[in-house]
Assembly symmetry: C2
Homo-oligomer: 365 residues x 2
């Protein structure tokens, strides 16, 4: 059997998961239409609603990774020729544009410098004399460490008569996310970041307003696998066979969500904030800074400046090989300029921060 090395996963994901989450996957398989499995699916839906803070009926995990969640939102909401405004301040905003264009959308980009947030005023300006179907933003931009505030963008979006689509892949479970209060119409996430579950599922939630827009489509959803009409029949009360749900991964998310709810969302968020503050202080002592916009830094994903003269890739490899610590590189314009250090879910602890700072200082010495 393949035996992986022990790693402390402080990159942009996956994060390490609690032992009980791994153990959950060790349970024997049952059928995807077994009444016992269906009971468990109901519990997953209920727990996901608590974690997303929504009462949306249509809340469940898509059988793919976070990017499949992104695609699920776009293929269901967008029809060819629809106008879509997308905030772009990193890799995942760019990815949204690509996905939306493949659905035939007419994409209007609202761009910001990588590391900065999408300013509500910029979204507002783009909505002058325009009534798009959808405004889409990334809450926590994993490629840069910037946390875009959602509430004002939501107000502006709805005043323009559009739906709001939100990426919470890195934010869910690590910092405040409140789908009902923020009036988000479609949201997706991943399992492998602050939920501390292995990658493989993409929690999504659609508001009744979004579901109504979908039910009034003129064309079929271009993806059969991600068609919400089918998925609603399987995850809803009908239980009509669509695809074979990933049984073991659903065991894992069930246990991971149970741990999140057991800890309490506010407690969990506070733990992430505390780890971030400790990291930031420690970095300051090493003369290092977090490069994303001050006041809008993601607690759970930190873009750390590579000091002049240091070899970004070499130190990253040294962290992995000598200390068993994975951190992420910068992407696009930030390549070679930052390390991305995640303190996500199970990993957001004082001990991990201390261990990382010690290892980094040795590498920089």
């Amino acid at each position: 059997m393949y035996s992986p090395p022990e790693r402390l996963l402080l990159g942009p994901g996956p994060s390490n998961v609690a032992p009980s989450v791994l153990q959950a996957m060790n349970s024997p398989l049952i059928g995807h239409l077994d009444p016992e499995f269906i009971k468990m699916m109901e519990e997953i839906k209920s727990m996901l609603r608590l974690v997303f803070r929504t009462e949306n009926e249509m809340t469940f995990p898509v059988s793919g990774t976070g990017s499949a969640g992104m695609e699920t939102c776009f293929v269901n909401l967008v029809e060819p020729g629809d106008e879509v405004v997308i905030g772009v301040n990193g890799v995942f905003g760019m990815r949204m544009c690509d996905v939306a264009e493949r659905c035939g959308a007419n994409v209007i980009k609202v761009e910001a410098e990588w590391g900065n947030i999408i300013e509500p005023a910029a979204i507002e300006a783009s909505l002058k004399n325009r009534r798009p179907k959808l405004v889409a933003v990334v809450h926590a931009e994993t490629s840069t460490g910037a946390l875009t505030p959602v509430e004002e963008i939501s107000r502006i979006t709805h005043e323009a008569g559009a739906l709001l689509l939100l990426d919470t892949v890195t934010s869910l479970g690590g910092c405040p996310v409140s789908i009902a209060e923020w009036q988000v119409d479609a949201v997706y996430s991943g399992t492998q970041k602050c939920l501390s579950c292995p990658p493989g599922l993409a929690p999504v939630s659609f508001s009744p307003r979004a579901m109504e827009v979908i039910s009034n489509r003129n064309s079929k959803v271009q993806s059969w696998y991600l068609d919400i009409n089918f998925l609603a029949n399987y995850w809803g009360s009908e239980r009509v066979y669509h695809h074979t749900a990933p049984i073991s991964m659903n065991y894992a998310i069930h246990e991971a969500l149970r741990l999140v709810i057991d800890e309490g969302l506010e407690t969990r968020w506070a733990r992430h904030q505390q780890a971030y503050e400790k990291l930031k202080d420690g970095l300051a002592n090493l003369g290092l800074t977090i490069t994303s916009q001050e006041g809008h830094q993601i607690w759970q994903l930190n873009a750390i400046s590579v000091p002049t003269g240091a070899n970004e890739a070499k130190i990253r490899t040294q962290l992995l090989n000598e200390f068993g610590i994975e951190v992420g590189p910068g992407l696009g314009p930030l390549k070679g300029k930052i390390w991305r250090v995640g303190l996500m879910g199970h990993n957001a602890t004082d001990a991990n921060v201390e261990h990382f700072l010690e290892a980094l200082s040795k590498c920089l010495a």
Copy 2:
């Protein structure tokens, strides 16, 4: 933690898996770009080539279930307006038509009665005066138990200048599948049938000829998540980040493939044949028959006639609740008329056949 009941999974999938496959998922996570993970990916690709019997470079598991594998093949090969011939003799042929139409294909159906094979002559007739881009058939039609022979269809398809696309979801690992010898251009499978791995991944393989057709596309692939150009960069030598691979599921398929190769394909096929023959004999003793076309019955998925006067659903529920045995119902025109009994992978044993026959005879008494 959720604790599922013990089940003997003799439905159309998932099947039970070997203990070591469950245990593999208990291994700690490592990163999806970790050099150690990349080594393991290479081993998965090599083992998949052995199991598919192909040397296709582009052979890897898609990060979704079998249906995502189907969609991967169609979205990459088909462009709007392309003509596609599809054999339809059950649910999965129908599904292929739906998926292909969502890609903008002009679909020509070659239909056969449910339970029968797609006759090569019927494919040949459909290709008269027609040069489609693609001919697609389901090898083992899970909804009916019929095994369509591939070699002659492949010859006819290539003579017409088309590519051959094959569904091996239920056949791979349970009966002869030989992608190179049969000159199949694109093939997909699932993990949860005769590979005896939990559901969640879809092994696919594309021939160099198929890859050339894809590289000459006029339009972008409509799915970002399933775009083979991106997937080739991640699963190939480039290792460019696309999506976060489902780490634990890849541990599982690695172990499941290791077990298949350790047993040997021919031995494994023979084990499935033996279980089928034993089941068929036992059914005859009970006055029951397998309803799919004689001479073309799938060893690993048996469509059993429901005797007159027996209540199909009630007996299926009784098998589950009293004996812990899951079997599947008929679908579409076969609803209420058959039970679908899978003897797949780990489950294809004499002991399971005996246990099932005993339970069924008690239910019928």
